[in-house]
């Protein structure tokens, strides 16, 4: 039972991060390797707003989320916009460089020590008991947030005006542009949505278990989840996260705790060998990349 809860929590973490990869890849065919760092930045922004609005936990949370959306927007407008139409490798490396930059800045601004935003905000983190398993409050919130985010994104992409534009831009940018869809706005929206979900994941994880500069590692481990499900499929990211999380939790429990960092990548390689486009991805992606 405890194992099951662990799997669900880890899967939610991975899924919440993975949907950021999927959003950007699906719309603009760019793999954002700075996602883990952007996620960490979101959590550190919470630390900043916590000292700014001390005593108003809800306000600090809201401000951090809004700020991280702004960060995503700025990243697109000032950086990734210039990489439109460049080589795949160049675009990926730009995000990698951005990640390095953010990591350096975070250490400069907040130091590399472990921080506890939950204490700064003054919110408790009691553990809840479900049946015979325990789950911390913020992990439970994370699972619920994940469900809400996925529900919201599905509805948005299916029915929202901008959601439909995003899907169109992802399917065929040229045709979409000719139908009067502003590609740059769509891409900017994708980037800000992606940092929003990433920051949510980072903030909730930091509230649950503290915050260090090694948080991006989790972001990188969530990437296999996105790829296992298919890089352009949201439902795939959910399933992929579940598979990766289950494999990780079970292998750690039954085989060796040291495996924790490699399991997602082992799963990734297995999927790349058998079905490179992922479980739910569309097959022609492979040649277009």
């Amino acid at each position: 039972m405890q194992l099951l809860v662990n799997i669900v929590v880890l899967a939610s973490i991975y899924a919440l991060i993975a949907c950021g990869y999927v959003m950007i890849y699906r719309v603009s065919r760019v793999l954002n390797l700075a996602h883990g760092e952007l996620m960490m930045l979101g959590a550190y922004l919470l630390l900043a707003t916590a000292s700014l609005f001390s005593g108003h936990a809800a306000m600090a949370l809201g401000a951090a989320v809004v700020l991280s959306v702004v960060v995503g927007l700025l990243v697109y407008v000032f950086l990734m916009r210039k990489m439109t139409g460049e080589m795949v490798l160049a675009a990926i490396l730009t995000t990698v460089a951005l990640g390095i930059l953010i990591r350096g800045l975070v250490v400069l601004l907040w130091s590399a020590q472990q921080q506890y935003p939950a204490q700064a905000l003054g919110v408790p983190n009691p553990s809840l008991v479900i049946g015979n398993a325990r789950i911390s409050l913020w992990s439970a919130v994370l699972v619920l947030t994940n469900a809400a985010v996925y529900g919201g994104l599905f509805a948005f992409l299916r029915f929202g005006r901008w959601g439909i534009r995003m899907r169109a831009a992802g399917q065929n940018p040229l045709l979409a542009a000719q139908r009067g869809i502003r590609l740059h706005s769509v891409y900017a929206l994708a980037w800000s949505l992606s940092t929003l979900t990433g920051a949510l994941a980072g903030i909730l994880m930091a509230l649950d278990s503290g915050l260090t500069t090694s948080l991006p590692v989790i972001g990188l481990k969530a990437f296999p989840a996105a790829l296992v499900g298919g890089l352009d499929s949201l439902a795939g990211a959910l399933v992929g996260a579940l598979i990766v999380a289950a494999a990780e939790v079970l292998l750690i429990y039954y085989v060796d705790p040291l495996l924790s960092d490699v399991v997602p990548f082992l799963v990734l390689i297995a999927v790349l060998i058998v079905r490179p486009w992922g479980l739910f991805g569309s097959r022609e992606e492979l040649d277009r990349v």
Partner: protein, 360 residues
């Protein structure tokens, strides 16, 4: 001082030997000779610090050249370069530690590890392209690092493996100056290997499959064979660099081979300029020397003691900034700047309108 010249103002070869010569004009011979004299004289005038820096540049150039071979010419993206260096270093460390293997045994053993890993890293490239290939090499990097870490903890070397300096025929290689010449020799050898591979059949095949796989296959080039060949050669050279790295440092630890090292190598070939061996060398020098430049710049600032603890972070951030600047503003890299300079001085003192597309 140097006035870069076009290679020759015509085609005057009368024999195959002339055609195959690496240096074709007198200017090339003289400038190379001057450069060689500088390289040989350097260790006798330079400080130990500069000597160490030069050695690091040579080590990095071996890795950068091999990555350039793979990514710049054969077009196979790899984000797992640090894993290969780690593999070479760990092969050396394990052999030296467990069976006290001498230098002449660990070096070929590292190269062999590189060959095997190259085959494994290369296999996904038969099915995958572009982004997916990059991701699969990234995953393999993590697996290699995991295996190394597992060895360290299981054998109780959790802080790292200490290696004695190599002995070749009774001569112990521990002096900085001796190391300089050994590493210089290896770097020059790998440069020559790369040049000769690239101007022969294999190099042409790699460029063809980089440009368009279908056409290359139609021309009778074995795609799978040449892709694997590129991976195997590149990774065995990289593993040799790893072996040398282990001996040079005298110490192997898994922390030295994180993802950041892979990124640094990719940054070297990007900053240097894709598709040019000279670019790989320039990039290797740039990326290796860069942190030291930043450090000395920081020391020039006022209240240094305040920043002292953050030098690492400043380095990190400024490396990110420089990489972004190169990617956005100068995608051709240092070699692009070099070619522009050459073009500018071609008809000096007359101005020449550079033909942007002619030089590529």
């Amino acid at each position: 001082m140097f006035r870069p010249m076009p290679r020759a103002s015509g085609y005057f070869h009368t024999s195959y030997a002339q055609d195959l010569a690496l240096l074709q004009t007198r200017t090339e011979r003289i400038s190379l000779l001057a450069f060689a004299v500088v390289l040989v004289a350097l260790p006798f005038i330079a400080s130990p610090f500069l000597l160490d820096l030069a050695c690091q540049v040579f080590l990095a150039s071996i890795g950068a050249l091999s990555l350039m071979l793979l990514t710049g010419y054969a077009g196979q993206i790899s984000l797992g370069h640090a894993g290969l260096i780690a593999a070479g270093a760990f092969t050396t460390g394990i052999l030296a530690r467990e069976i006290h293997a001498p230098f002449w045994l660990t070096l070929p053993a590292s190269a062999l590890t590189g060959v095997v890993l190259g085959l494994i890293f290369g296999l996904p490239s038969l099915r995958l392209r572009g982004l997916y290939l990059a991701v699969s090499t990234l995953a393999l990097h993590f697996i290699v690092i995991y295996l190394g870490g597992e060895y360290e903890t299981k054998r109780g070397f959790s802080t790292g493996i200490v290696i004695d300096p190599p002995a070749i025929g009774g001569f112990r290689l521990s002096d900085g100056r001796a190391w300089y010449f050994v590493l210089l020799g290896f770097a020059v050898a790998s440069l020559l290997i790369c040049i000769n591979l690239l101007r022969s059949r294999s190099g042409r095949a790699w460029r063809a499959l980089h440009a368009r796989e279908t056409v290359a296959e139609a021309l009778g080039i074995s795609i799978a064979g040449y892709k694997l060949l590129a991976f195997v050669i590149s990774s065995s050279m990289t593993s040799v660099a790893g072996c040398l790295f282990a001996y040079y440092r005298g110490f192997v630890s898994i922390e030295a081979f994180d993802l950041f090292l892979s990124i640094q190598y990719v940054a070297m070939i990007i900053i240097g300029g894709m598709g040019s061996l000279l670019g790989a060398l320039l990039g290797a020098a740039f990326v290796t020397i860069f942190p030291y430049v930043i450090e000395s710049l920081i020391k020039l600032l006022p209240n240094v003691h305040k920043l002292a603890g953050d030098i690492f972070a400043v380095n990190y951030a400024s490396f990110g900034v420089v990489m972004i600047l190169f990617l956005v503003l100068e995608p051709l890299g240092l070699i692009g700047i070099w070619h522009r300079l050459q073009n500018y001085f071609l008809l000096w003192p007359f101005k020449q309108r550079p033909l942007a597309s002619a030089r590529k």
